[in-house]
Amino acid sequence: MMSDRKELIGFLIIFVFGILAPIVAPSHRIQFSELFIFMVFALTWNIQGGKMGYNTFGNIIFFGLGMYLCASTQISYAFNLSEWTAAGGINTFVHTIPEYFISLPLGLLVAAIVPTLVALVLGSFMLILRGHYFAIGTLGLGIAAGEFATTMDIWGGGMGMTVPIWPKVDGQDLELFLGVGVDFFFYLTFVLFLITFFTLRWLYSTRFGLILTAIRDNEDKAEAMGIPTMRYKVTGWLFSAFFMGLAGALFGNINGYIEPNEVAFNGATFGVYMVLMTILGGKGTLWGPIIGAILFQLFKEFFWTYFLGWQLVALGFLIVIIVVFFPEGLMGWLRGKKPEWFGEVVDKKARLAQVTINTND
């Protein structure tokens, strides 16, 4: 845990950024929204991969599910979903303003609740697996989820589906109005990030957080001490699924288009990004995933913009650099250099102290 003052500075930077970013750099609002979504990716992946030591590739399921469910709810509220997907979407159907603003919260609600329930079901048997078996198992689940979406005709199958566009007021300049939509979703992602961050910050300060770490360090011991580890593992996954579902819902609306394997259940990009970001920043810490997400988004946008075609090569290099030079992430590296920043006592005396038991007392 970082000292209170450093945390406060961190909060301030994020708050100022979150409020001013779309005003100062309006042309990058989508990238900023994506950044907050990425932070949620990394923060929630960190619950399993960092805190609990369960490397999951399955969290993308909840993201994709949230995306599809939110969009379907939004559409179904005003129109017939199968007609919408068959017609190719926005060309024929436009939500009125009240329809849009009632259906969106409903969609978000569904996108939060259903993936959480799915995590409860999947978790109760997947989390019996440990180590590599869990990683491979969840990888398979992620791919299966994509294939499943491909077969869902009501979601447009492999063709995908469009998401309701920001409702237009008659006579208003279209570009300006769509811009308001971009702002709106930017602030929603910002709020989602804040809720995720503060929930996890609270979570890690409780006995629950400590037990996650205990499971990572020695699950057998935790069991032998009477801790029902399964319950904690599943509950941890529920938190991830809840926020990933919401992240998916917002991302679908920002992206405007959903497709099974390239957008929703994209394990090869998003599924890998969340792992990379967390490891880059420092897994198992609260701030590591945030720092990792910021650095990663900067890196990604830079290479995708200026070195298009080489971005995957650069990504490969990044992975190698992280694994070789920062295996513990930036936070872990910093912890090694400045342990006192993390409230760790490096007392030579304690380390060298002889253990003796005074048998007279």
């Binding site: 979570l203 300060s205 409780t206 006995r207 629950f208 400590l210 037990i211 770490t213 205990a214 990572r216 360090d217 020695n218 057998d220 011991k221 935790a222 069991e223 032998a224 001490m225 009477g226 801790i227 029902p228 580890t229 319950r231 904690y232 509950t235 198992g284 760790e344 006592v345 007392d347 005396k349 304690a350 380390r351 102290a353 253990v355 003796t356 038991i357 005074n358 048998t359």
Partner: protein, 246 residues
């Protein structure tokens, strides 16, 4: 005195290997009992059977009259029966204090999952750590401790849980001889002061002789003999099992 633990005709086979065959033993409340036997005689398997690490093939295990053999691993410690491991198991990345605080027995109710750790735990943890001689190491990461120190930490964590009965798997293995005296003293004190029944697997005969009131000896998965330390020391079958029958 009543029996706190009763093991009746327990068998555990791993394929063709008869790790435990028809084992019966009973342990009186408040006593210190030792389990000895050559390597591979099935002592740790018996421990694992008792605490539910693996299902047993036959027999019954009762702790304070409650049948344990169908229970899950995590359901048994809340009853007050706790074990430590031969190869130390501790939470390596956490500080010793955290290791202690997480070991406190808490109700497993869903509503208690998100409790904060109470402040009073610090004091209790420090007290127990100094009882086993680890007070000065309390803020170090547990993984940094030596093997012997980790054994002590495991003992301290077990005490933090306030069990009724403690099963220790070779508590003095890998610990220097001077410190062993201290541990014997502590174990006797734990038994005497906190009324914790002790069931100890031990190879070090000096420890067994100084500690135990009753000794069980296993060989080849079977219960070979039991009696007072003196009787066991002079039992020809036990000597044969350790040194090989002529």
């Amino acid at each position: 005195m009543t029996n706190i633990l009763e093991v009746n005709n327990v068998s555990k086979f791993f394929g063709g290997v008869r790790a435990n065959e028809d084992i019966s033993l009973s342990i009186k409340q408040g006593s210190i009992v030792s389990l000895i036997g050559p390597n591979g005689s099935g002592k740790t398997t018996l421990f694992n059977s008792i605490v539910g690490t693996h299902p047993i093939d036959n027999g019954s295990i009762k702790f304070e009259g409650k049948e344990l053999s169908k229970m899950l691993v995590h359901e048994i410690p809340p009853l007050g029966l706790l074990r430590t491991f031969q190869q130390t198991k501790i939470y390596g990345q956490m500080s010793c204090m955290m290791n202690m605080k997480i070991s406190k027995k808490v109700s497993n109710a869903y509503t208690r999952m998100f409790d904060k750790l109470p402040k009073e735990l610090d004091e209790q943890a420090e007290q127990i750590l100094s009882f086993v001689g680890l007070y000065e190491k309390r803020n170090l990461r547990a993984g940094e401790l030596s093997f012997g120190q980790q054994k002590l930490l495991e003992l301290a964590m077990a005490l933090m849980n306030e069990p009724k009965m403690l099963m220790l798997d070779e508590p003095t293995a890998g610990i220097n001889p001077t410190l062993i005296n201290g541990i014997i003293d502590r174990l006797i004190k734990i038994n005497d002061k906190y009324k914790i029944t002790l069931f100890v697997i031990e190879h070090n005969m000096r420890v067994v002789m100084n500690l135990a009131q009753h000794v069980f000896c296993m060989a080849h998965g079977k219960m070979l003999a039991d009696g007072t330390p003196e009787e066991i020391k002079n039992d020809k079958r036990v000597i044969d099992a350790y040194l090989g029958a002529s």
